[in-house]
Symmetry: C2
DNA sequence: TCAATTTATTTCGCACGCGAACTATCTAGG
DNA sequence: CCTAGATAGTTCGCGTGCGAAATAAATTGA
């Protein structure tokens, strides 16, 4: 069960090590992908897509805004909300990350049959419902 | 591929939520287990067992020492090294964590056959060699 | 013996994300 | 219209772990 922890960390570490170019981390590329599919999303929406709580996105957005990858613009219909938009630099970084992703995914599935990968994917997905955010027992 | 990240975070979050008792976190219980099997380990050894770099353990040990779970004692044969020992409180916390672990593992494997779990375990383990610490390509 | 190197650990600055508490805005109810 | 609650984000303090640079002790070599 510590396997999961270690595996995740290994992957993260490896990804961090091989992409020092523009400083786009794994978490950041996640948000880039989300905005690539739904530019102008609310922070809450983006957070839900990435399974992050409010503080998680807030910080991520802060860092990415500072890095000039995304922009925070007020929602015209709701004074509390902000919408997130990719900058040109962000769009470029996303394209680059997308290319890298294929590589990583290939490496993740290498040596396993489709059926096996299917089992793994199902297990990971199941875990999300098995360990819910809110309640327990 | 973000699945892994999310799954790990979910698990971590869930474990954190359900054990506010003594403040023993997942990372900390990991170290407790290591010391349970090899009390008096060097920091480097413990780090290797948990797949943590030097800064990782150093910080973990600091926090756990402050919480009175473990003790840092100088190695008599090597002036640079420290050996880690469980305190009585640490030993108690370990026993408690061990009990909880069975629960978590049961929940992790629930709904999957032994063969399937085997595939998952193999996949997680393989990832460790697939994404090595040091070098690349 | 005395540098040069290796090894064990610490420190620093960073990214990440959580829970809790807070602010500001929007929406209902009376 | 005005107060009560829901909703969107922010801030704070914490734990976690990384890479890079520093410190200190041990080992190796000339």
């Amino acid at each position: 069960m510590f396997l999961l922890n270690v595996a995740q960390r290994r992957l993260q570490r490896w990804m961090a090590a091989r992409s020092p170019h523009g400083g786009v981390t794994a978490a950041q590329s996640g948000l880039l992908f989300v905005l690539g599919q739904r530019d102008g999303a609310l922070m809450g929406e983006a957070g839900a897509a990435l399974d992050l709580g409010p503080p998680g996105i807030s910080g991520l957005v802060d860092r990415m805004t500072a890095a000039n990858l995304i922009e925070r613009r007020a929602d015209p219909d709701d004074g509390r909300a902000w919408r997130l938009w990719l900058t040109p630099a962000g769009r470029a970084a996303m394209a680059q990350s997308k290319a890298g992703l294929a590589d990583v995914n290939a490496r993740l599935t290498e040596g396993f049959t489709d059926a096996e990968i299917d089992v793994v994917a199902r297990w990971l997905t199941t875990m999300q419902s098995r360990f819910p955010k809110g309640e327990d027992e």
